[in-house]
Symmetry: C2
Subunit: 359 residues, 2 copies
């Protein structure tokens, strides 16, 4: 087992990465403060892992909420189901919430923990590659609004993150691919050697080879933890973690939540960011082709949704959180392995990218 630490002073916490971690109560015990535990999961994950995780918390009052599976349920209405359960089972402010599932379950459980009785403890047990390498680390929590993704939320750090790679055995192949999009992101934004390693090992990852997965997850979490430690509340550098996300959020909103997986939208969004970076002369046309080829090898989409126009992108991107005082800010590649956040680009280049990649 590997243990990484997210270094945030009093809010620091460990990430445990390995096999068969869901059978070891000694890992989580130090991170439960009171006598009550509320496990939040969804109807896909519950039949697979809920019984196991309940045993992990034997000796506590353990209750559960099973949400419907899907990004389309990541809203205030379904968040309220968690509050319903907490109040019906009389959980007090020493309770610990446990997020068992993917990014949607993690984001919703984290926000429920941030706001139940103005803040209680929580533990992340991510079961998808995407949530293991991204959303379970860093404390961003929240739900979607009909007019924008993740528009309602809080920064709320977990007490610990438990990543059992065995849980990926049951993960559908398209969700594995979606997770690989975020893995590839770390290479592009701040770790060129990792990008090259990914290019060489992408088939092992597609085949869920355990050692390759552990290395990819560990390196992704290390990179994320490093960036988050520098800038917990995204005042600056942390924004580079959003490479491809502003384009990607537009795709997700246009398509309706749940029709494109988040990682799939991010993959296409990263290619759009790379295309714009090349137009600015920061990376080469060959680099863009190389990124496109790697995304394709990872079975990720590289084309915008049929019928989604350049104008539609512009309209949706104007309400994204990355807009500051009216100016669109994007994460772009200053070089391969080096992302920056900037609003310093000519609109014609931005429009050329949209025209080139929409259809």
């Amino acid at each position: 087992m590997k243990t990484l630490t997210v270094d945030l002073g009093a809010r620091s916490y460990p990430i445990f990465i390995g096999q068969n971690l869901l059978t070891d109560p000694s890992l989580v015990a130090p991170h439960v403060k009171g006598k009550q535990v509320m496990i939040v999961t969804n109807d896909t994950v519950a039949p697979l892992y809920l019984a196991k995780v309940k045993k992990l918390f034997a000796g506590y009052q353990v209750d559960e909420v099973i949400l419907p599976d899907g990004e389309e349920y990541k809203n205030l209405e379904h968040l309220n189901l968690i509050f319903d359960a907490l109040l019906q089972k009389r959980h007090n402010r020493t309770t610990t919430l446990v997020a068992l599932g993917g990014g949607v379950v993690g984001d919703m459980t984290g926000f429920a923990a941030a706001s139940y009785q103005r803040g209680v403890e929580f533990i992340q047990i991510p079961t998808t590659l995407l949530s293991q390498v991204d959303s379970s680390v860093g404390g961003k929590t929240g739900v979607n609004h009909a007019l924008g993704k993740n528009m309602i939320g809080a920064f709320h750090q977990p007490n610990c993150v438990l990543i059992d790679v065995n849980s990926l055995n049951t993960l559908p192949q398209n969700e594995l691919a979606a997770g690989l999009a975020e893995v590839i992101k770390y290479g592009l934004i701040c770790d060129l050697p990792f990008y090259h390693w990914l290019d060489e090992n992408i088939e092992s990852l597609n085949a869920k080879q355990t050692d390759a997965l552990i290395y990819a997850i560990e390196t992704s979490c290390l990179n994320k933890a490093k960036v988050v430690a520098l800038d917990e509340r995204e005042g600056g550098i942390r924004a580079i973690l959003n490479l491809g996300h502003t384009f990607g959020h537009a795709i997700e909103t246009d398509q309706g939540y749940g029709n494109w997986l988040h990682g799939e939208a991010v993959a296409t969004g990263m290619l759009m960011a790379a295309d714009l970076s090349a137009r600015l002369g920061w990376i080469g046309e060959k680099d863009v082709q190389h990124i496109e080829a790697l995304l394709l090898k990872a079975h990720l989409p590289v084309k915008c949704p049929q019928g989604m126009s350049a104008d539609r992108f512009k309209d949706l991107m104007a309400v994204d959180k990355k807009v500051l005082d009216g100016k669109l800010r994007l994460v772009l590649l200053r070089a391969m392995g080096e992302a920056i956040t900037t609003s310093d680009f000519a609109l014609e280049h931005f429009e050329a990218t949209l025209t080139h990649l929409t259809n």
Copy 2:
């Protein structure tokens, strides 16, 4: 004008108290970071003060949300109306929310500010006595759940609080009384001289005499700021501010939000806490009678709702936030002018109080 400071390190902020403050843009200007302002108010306050407050922010993009007036609308569903407006008007993460109204508007606006794009700035302009002396100071924000009051929320401090006592001229007499309940609370929990001053000046306050109001608001805010500075997130001493609130919340929940004013429920709750304190021998029977007489002079209720049984109280109080690991904790009076939080009382005394004061 008086200026107090709530001393919370990097989150410190001023409270301005005086007359005609709503016509002075120089007070708020330093506390608006971006170019956008969203005023949140309700349909009672809007016709009285919205136009004035919009002028206060001339030069910014000013938008507004007008909520229906009433505690029964303090829920996630109506909170979402604030997010709707923010997104429809494309407010970005540098926006400033302005709470113009009483405690409900302040709590909801504060929670919206805490969670919109994971946290934006906000300013409190409380227009009721209760919100001026209590809810606008200290950063507690949130909404109610059908199963419990203020169960969903955040700690989120405002950038400044603007208390214009002139706004009390339009306040109905029963809402003035509700505010006086919280004012009397400060005397009981930590300021015996103020309690005596209140006893002597209660008629001036009932008559909305300006100097008396300013002194009562200033002293209340000073006491609250002192306690909040010691314990921002209610790990300990801050809980004394909840004198009467655990009993009071049970009344409000039983009656349905909005039928008893919060301050009215707190008044009866304080008398219940005083009764229990006397049964423990901490204060005298005469003290209880004196508190009851003062509450009556302030036109506040001192009897539990008709038909609300002792058992109903016990049932509702078990889910209150003040329950820690199954033990009911209450704020009681160790002496007149000195409150403590304790679970160290015999159940028979608690039950005797319920039996004595319910009907």
